[in-house]
């Protein structure tokens, strides 16, 4: 068995362990109280942290396109529409400005 299959097996086993540990922890957390409130707030916090990390690597064009995408998100509440506006905005800013 060559090294590349071992790399795949190690990353696959580690990643599945992380996913299963999360699923188990989610079931183990009580339905009410501070931990439950934290878990309810977690998705939104994780998503804005995700957006923040991707904006960090960008310059003013990415920030401007992000603001345009946010306006599109508020106006349309649609994921595909926001993606289309965001791609169009960043393409125009990178190629025309």
């Amino acid at each position: 068995m060559d090294e590349h299959w071992l790399l795949i097996a190690a990353l696959a086993a580690g990643t599945l362990s992380i996913r299963l540990a999360g699923a188990w922890a989610g079931q183990a957390i009580p339905a009410h109280g501070p931990l439950a409130r934290a878990l309810d707030a977690l998705p939104g916090c994780l998503i804005v942290a995700l957006v923040a990390t991707s904006m960090l690597t960008g310059g003013w064009r990415e920030w401007a396109a992000g603001a345009i995408a946010a306006a599109a998100a508020v106006a349309t509440r649609s994921v595909p529409a926001t993606m289309a506006v965001g791609i169009a905005a960043i393409w125009a800013l990178r190629h025309m400005v």
Partner: protein
Amino acid sequence: MRTEQSGDGFWAGARDILPLAAGVSVYGLAFGLLAAQAGFSPLQIGAMGALVYAGSSQIIMSQQWLAGAGFAGSVVAGLILNLRLLLITASLRDVFAGRPWWQTAFGAHLAADENWALLLAGRARGRRVGYAYLIGGGLAQMAAWCGSTTAGGLFAEAIPDPRGLGIDFAFTAAFIAIARSLWRGRSDLLPWFVSVAVVFAGVKLAGAPAHWMLALGGLIGAATAGARA
């Protein structure tokens, strides 16, 4: 066991993820090229997508392997990037509640940033999306990921540059839209602000790696919400 209404089940999950899967495919082609350079065969590239199913960690592991980081260094770099998946599957507890272990394990394996976020955004808007929706989105995107990465490994020439097309920004835009759907009102303001502030402070001031700060920012923001009575 919860049953989903028609329109909120497996095929709705597969349909809703299509624009995101299209963007993933462009990255898949580019990753296939990288993985081929790192010495993975097309069969191995396709198998990796199905077995690991965490694209950014596959990219980092292949990059590190190509850069000579060694076996453990390459694998650990990929796994650090996947720590956020622990938080993602933990937050799916309603979806997994009361299910047999193998369904939970299958659903957890198919949980990725995109189908997880779409499911939560759908729920925030009052749709009755659940396990079948997660599986539908996960399998559809896995097909796009495995197909495009294998194709990238096979046809290493003529791969479009995601950045030149603006596709790199497509995911940022998608997550902005999903954040809009997850907004529950003013009580979210402080936790969200804390999450973003932790990411910025950690990366800009302390010089910490962005993927560590992503998980830490999400955790500290959520803890802020939990600490409030």
